[in-house]
Symmetry: C2
Amino acid sequence: MPSETYGKFVSLTKDYAIAGQIGGLLGWDQETCMPEKGAADRSNQLAFIAGIEHERQTSAELGNLLDKLEQEADEDVVVATNVRETRREYDRAIRVPTDLVKEIARVTSLAQDAWRKARAESNFALFVPTLERLLDLKRQVADKIGWKTEPFDALMDEYEPGTKAADVQVVFDRLKTKLVPFVAAIKDAPRRPDLSILKRPCPIEQQKAFTRRVLEAMQFDFKAGRVDTSTHPFCSGATPNDVRLTSRYFEDYFPASLFGLMHEGGHGLYEQGLDAAHVGTPMGSSVSLGIHESQSRLWENQVGRSRAFWERFYGEFQAAFASMADVPLDDFYFAINNVKPSFIRVEADEVTYGLHIMLRFAIERPMIAGTLAVRDIPEKWNALSQELLGITPSNDAEGCLQDIHWAFGMYGYFPTYQLGNLYSAQFFAAAKRAMPGLEDQIRRGELAPLREWLRENIHRHGKRYRAPELAKLVTGSTLADEPYMEYLEAKYKPLYGI
Amino acid sequence: MPSETYGKFVSLTKDYAIAGQIGGLLGWDQETCMPEKGAADRSNQLAFIAGIEHERQTSAELGNLLDKLEQEADEDVVVATNVRETRREYDRAIRVPTDLVKEIARVTSLAQDAWRKARAESNFALFVPTLERLLDLKRQVADKIGWKTEPFDALMDEYEPGTKAADVQVVFDRLKTKLVPFVAAIKDAPRRPDLSILKRPCPIEQQKAFTRRVLEAMQFDFKAGRVDTSTHPFCSGATPNDVRLTSRYFEDYFPASLFGLMHEGGHGLYEQGLDAAHVGTPMGSSVSLGIHESQSRLWENQVGRSRAFWERFYGEFQAAFASMADVPLDDFYFAINNVKPSFIRVEADEVTYGLHIMLRFAIERPMIAGTLAVRDIPEKWNALSQELLGITPSNDAEGCLQDIHWAFGMYGYFPTYQLGNLYSAQFFAAAKRAMPGLEDQIRRGELAPLREWLRENIHRHGKRYRAPELAKLVTGSTLADEPYMEYLEAKYKPLYGI
């Protein structure tokens, strides 16, 4: 029986979580509905609700309740999880002085302008002073929060609690020795897909209808969610009862909406699969960005780019899009699995994507530690690009200036993308072991059992386990590169005849 | 030069106004976008933001600043208006004890269920106990707020500040002696429009395109607003930069979207016409519900149901809707101006509408004063319906149970609908006097000058003047029935040949 103190504590966390839900909805509206003149007012509204959330999240009352609950040391798993994870968030929030938070908000706002200008002129030097200032401030944040091995850990902890840079490095190093030669082999393979297939005209209304059909097959609950259009696709989940996906649509490039929505739909299933009874507490929240990304990648790639999936859905796809009528399934399947090293991360295929992340990780660690001078980033970037991808950017815009993340003040964020890829392969391999008929189910379009397995093993636990622990529990191993490489090899070796 | 105290005061009012803007957006989303399972969470979010708004609106700090500013007695019109109107809202908010507010919230929630059940069974007796309880609570509210002549005034003041029941009664009494025989004459007229015209099929996509075209002609700014679909049409204006209209569409009844959107568009132009510099203060807020309704009615009726307007737009209308190709303009114009006494207020035409309101007003005043027993309402309602409309409802569902307002705890709200009709005629007559070419402009589809006149004379003033004062200033008279009757007679006598 949870104590009265705990009841009070939960009502406080649920209270400020509501502010977060409202902020999420305002953000969704800004990207999907808000008329253009509404931007300045919206910015005030977002600042207002973020202020309320912060004020309540860092209240002395909450701190006192946490102190008391830690003395009570309740062994109930829900209580223990909620106290442990709220303590973590509380400490992160109160350790950073308000003045520092405000200064970072001010500088990131300037940094975005500086980044846009630098990228437009493809001149990293224009971004250097602001980036140096921002790194200095983020190092102060890391110091305030505290770290053992390196400041990077304190920053990455915001996105991937409990995972350390050194652990990631071990896996990335192993992966590199396998992935680089694998990509090289594909590059030299004699076979290449016909990519013109992907550019055949597909009317947008039909894209909307077909992707809805796919999301329904994935068991995305449209009574607890919806799909809208935005410039940049995202998933915004206020609560498990209201999960909103967005996509963009190009008549002459259907993969943007198709795989975009399977990806966002994977995020959405995670949000819908959280335990509604625990909304507003860590037990009703997702584990980490890496685990979240594993869900989107699993549906986008392990399912959406599999031959089994298309054996069931390709007939419907051809029926929906007349221009695809004469394209054989094998050609289609090859085209949606094209692998080719390229400069821009967001356009990368599932094989080379990880190399883009390893490149960033190799720059971010010394950059944040201060052992890599900011002005030396372009040279280092280009060298790494050659080493990992076998190509060298011809300018900063297609190199070290391509991502806005650093200007947003997001450091230690990039690795989570590749953690998502690695975890997705671990989870999918575990699902196949647990359900020997899984691939046949997918081949029949029966996606409910997979969704149930993910919900049962991952979603419903909320933050009960941190990422490495969850992976160990569900797959038998913490972060690992083997299932990922096995997945890639099993799929791409036959495709490319290597 | 406004004082430092005033600066602090304005920042406080703008702060809690943001909570109101957010609440408005959450409400809009609930009606237009929210997936159905999101309802319970949304209710928590709305309660949360309403709590924040109330807490800040009634803060001791704001009260102290008001005291100081009243001593300073700044004569600047902006300062004086903002202090005066914020004081009014502050006093209304703090005078009602929190326990009473909560009890009313609890009982209105029950009352809505009771009303739904009573209406479904067409049995007013089922609603009597809850309505009695609610009236008792609202009388307590009126007493706390304070009143001179009757408690009704304290309640109506929430919607129509500065207007008293006795003043409304004088105008309604005069109007009754003219309107009742006028409606009777129309009823007996030999001519009747062909209403089947209104049911000709008009594809919904074309309705959307045509109404957008009309809203653009009205100068509704789509960069600061949008139109969506909802079950019940409304206008939700967070700020002048973000004004959202909704409509419903029926393929076989185009007037719902056409006049519905001209109506909501009129509200929307008012919201967009408020002074953006004063957002979050009374100087940037609308005067009253009656004045707001005058703007919607003016565009819906004085413009939208005028022959001049359709001389310009009927060609486009016929081009958009093939089924209307053989309908002469005169037949169309007659059909959209059909007048016939009926039971349901929301379906009433612009002539008989006022009689529905006068009926409710005649019941609400003694009901709130306690001189009309709740159980006697059906009998009184039916007698008034016969007296005013010449028809008697056959049951409570089409009589005294048709509106949800009382179950929502809204008393003294109904009159504002008819104030809107009366003020719309006053304002339109004043506009015609000020702009002798107005009707010709409308005939050419030039609606910008009218919009500018309304903005200049009404919208931009915010709450600088209360409704009677504003009407006097702009039209030369406080609330009056003459311009309304003149408008009706000039339009309907030739139409019906009476």
